[in-house]
Symmetry: C2
Subunit: 534 residues, 2 copies
Amino acid sequence: MATTAENRVASDAKVLQSYLGGKWQAGTGEGTSLINPTTGDIVASASSKGLDLSTALSYSRNVGGRELRKLTYAQRAELLGKIADTLAARRDEWFEIARKNSGNTKADAAIDVDGSIGTLKYFAKIGAKLGDTRMLRDGSPSRLARDPNFQGLHLGVPLDGVAVHINAFNFPAWGLWEKAAVSLLAGVPVFSKPATSTAWLAQEMVSAVLEADILPPGALSVLCGSPNDLLDHLQLGDVVAFTGSADTGEGIRRHPRIRKQNIRVNIEADSLNAALLGPDVQPDSMDFGLFAREVVREMTSKTGQKCTAIRRVLVPDYHEQAAIDALSAQLKMTVVGDPANALVTMGPVVNMAQRKSIGEGIAQLNTRADVAYEPDNFAPLDADTEHGAFVAPTLLRAREKGNDDVIHEVEVFGPVATVVSYRDKHDAFALARRGGGSLAASVFSGDTNFLTEAGAALGTSHGRVLLVDPSIRESHTGHGIVLPSCMHGGPGRAGGGEELGGLHGLWFYHQRVAMQGAGPTLTALNERAADPHE
Amino acid sequence: MATTAENRVASDAKVLQSYLGGKWQAGTGEGTSLINPTTGDIVASASSKGLDLSTALSYSRNVGGRELRKLTYAQRAELLGKIADTLAARRDEWFEIARKNSGNTKADAAIDVDGSIGTLKYFAKIGAKLGDTRMLRDGSPSRLARDPNFQGLHLGVPLDGVAVHINAFNFPAWGLWEKAAVSLLAGVPVFSKPATSTAWLAQEMVSAVLEADILPPGALSVLCGSPNDLLDHLQLGDVVAFTGSADTGEGIRRHPRIRKQNIRVNIEADSLNAALLGPDVQPDSMDFGLFAREVVREMTSKTGQKCTAIRRVLVPDYHEQAAIDALSAQLKMTVVGDPANALVTMGPVVNMAQRKSIGEGIAQLNTRADVAYEPDNFAPLDADTEHGAFVAPTLLRAREKGNDDVIHEVEVFGPVATVVSYRDKHDAFALARRGGGSLAASVFSGDTNFLTEAGAALGTSHGRVLLVDPSIRESHTGHGIVLPSCMHGGPGRAGGGEELGGLHGLWFYHQRVAMQGAGPTLTALNERAADPHE
């Protein structure tokens, strides 16, 4: 196991294995160390060196795919429910791993762990509605020519390849299961590649589900460690769903095999999401305070390591100082430290490399923005900044309009946001769009007309828009929370992908086909299919 | 105008211009020559050298997009109807250009010209149903949390960029209008780049529509000549829809700007489409003959230059010779020559370069397949092979199973197909799939169960499957015909795209957004939107 001078190896450190071709396998060599970001201790290691990924993918396709496609949607939905139950039974264990390997507070781990269980349960429920069918339909048979017997019907046929899921470090549980839920429901076997730095939780969860013997053989594989030549073996019928940085996403698009075989790819990349305070919200109002609370929750939840987190805070120029004051007051209440201490509201970032990257990002932002808030004396509770990857929550304020691309382009993946003031609503919408395409925007206003206009205006450059008025001030689910019933993804910078969104998400794992034929043939096909819109 | 020793310049040769930024512009230099493939005469030239494409794209976005989006779907649909009428009024002119620049027979030109008018009329009709709205909806507002007032709704918001349409040489009319119809209906301005070799017809049609003053300024632009740096200027909100070779399509995916900005791309590439004769069809039956007729029609229609054309003919091994006999008998009736002669059923291919490429492709196929049919004495009617790009219709027969990748991978874009025999239905389905993803497959059988099974089996690797039984033997629209109501596109080799398919095609030009908000806000948004499924 690779160690450095600074990293102690925990006494119970694990060697992660990969589950490929129906068996657990370890790579050779020392592998990559997984760190407890609070202490710097090595908690596990993972190596995929020497593993035969081509054979593993074939097994997924040929055994897993075949077995899964024998089942109906309803039967596969039932399996998702069992997976959820199995994971729910060991919830405390997952929280413990999330704390040790991700520096998660209980609230952070809940988003990841409970989010994954909830997503599985959701798809178990809505998948059951598809009944004893194995194809999707869009519409019903309709006449194509003068002869009413010559008809057309659009069907979705499950892909006969393997779904390669490449996940980000920040959601080792949710990233695994939100993708797997849809893929398994579709009948496409899962080949999951968690980010190595936090793969421990993903590996343990997969192990728990395999032990419970819920899924057919080959339906679920996990690769811990480097992906090596994984993408080189993809072929017609395979898909790649990736979540992570825009750079890595672009690398996947550039991969020769992906390009030349037109492998279907979904990319969900970090983006510079904006929160927009409406022109009408008064500084002394409850909603002004709730806006500040929501922004700070997004900045500090999972220590700002959410791809949907608010990076840019758009406020009317006449309320800029009031907004900064309200945000600073909320930020002041953040308690940074060891997540084992119940008083702590924000843990470390995932590792020292991320902390370094955050520091560099802040320095870039500083060329166009001033620090508006940072703690006076930054000292993590029950921890130290020498061993732990702690970062102070930091609010910036954009200095001037115009030459400020950096504020709209440089994403700092940590507890950092920049306040940008706007002149009028058109300026506000244009600023939101300057992120180049984002996963989510939220708008706070008491004016339904303004919210409606904002929804339509922001819609061209966002995958999700949350429109908060006082009637849902306490009941909305938050800017950064991805609901399984709502599409997740965004254009441009955000990767151009579409995940989840209820049964709509199934289409990524199906080939859409125009079937043309005689009435009785199309009726027979139609009867084998279910309409995901119903 | 560039000429070679062999090419005479026609006395009425045109210099094509581009319509960019609201005015006709000619590039500098001699440009590229457009040839009459029957005679080798130069009929036109096109240059885009020196044209400012960045400014032209901005004009499309800022003027065309803004103006188009002021209109509702129903208003834009009405414009499509007017375009169709304008084009229909000058149908004879288009046929004449198609003959002179594409070597089209009347039947060939009808597919292209009438196909484009029909597609415009179809979208005029179904677009009207969307009424006075400017957004699409998928489903209706539904509860997202315990509070029934916090709701979600998926909307489609028209993209605020420009649609770059890059078309293939084989359908200068249909390629232009099938893309433009959907794009304009969506409210996204069209920036069309026809293949230079046959751009004459596209340019004249655009000119006719501009003269009729139907569209708002900036809604329709055309670039004749090389695309130069066109892709370098794309940005968030722009899309590229490409039809052409798999190689060029891959080049578009590889383009740094496309990749880095996650520009949305639809690729519709040539593929090795298969026709499958069912195990039950007897050689002495009417349906055996109709199968042969359909295959030969696909081989010879537009001289085999259709991306949906049948390249592989899958027949039961026990009927292989009978199939070859029937196909040869049909092929023997093909009259190749000058399309000006009404007796001619097959014109030349588009130019000498294509003819050369077809010869090379046949040589590649010959390594694994024997010639089963070619004309005894190949001599085009009213033309010669010295000046005209004529190719003999050629049927091949695969020699052996196993090492025959070339038959499933090398597409000969001309009047050429290969007969491949199969052992049983599973073998037949596997052979069809070896094309690596195709636009269309057709299956001919009297057995509805077999057709249903074939539809589901071929569905994973095809975008369209035509299932022909005797009840539709005369009324089906054919293997290669793309109907506007049916999706056009296919996985893998075929590019992975989705075009047309009725109003479903509009989604490519819309950003899908999950809107979250209070009941009244979502009701207001919902009322502004139309459901394309209804």
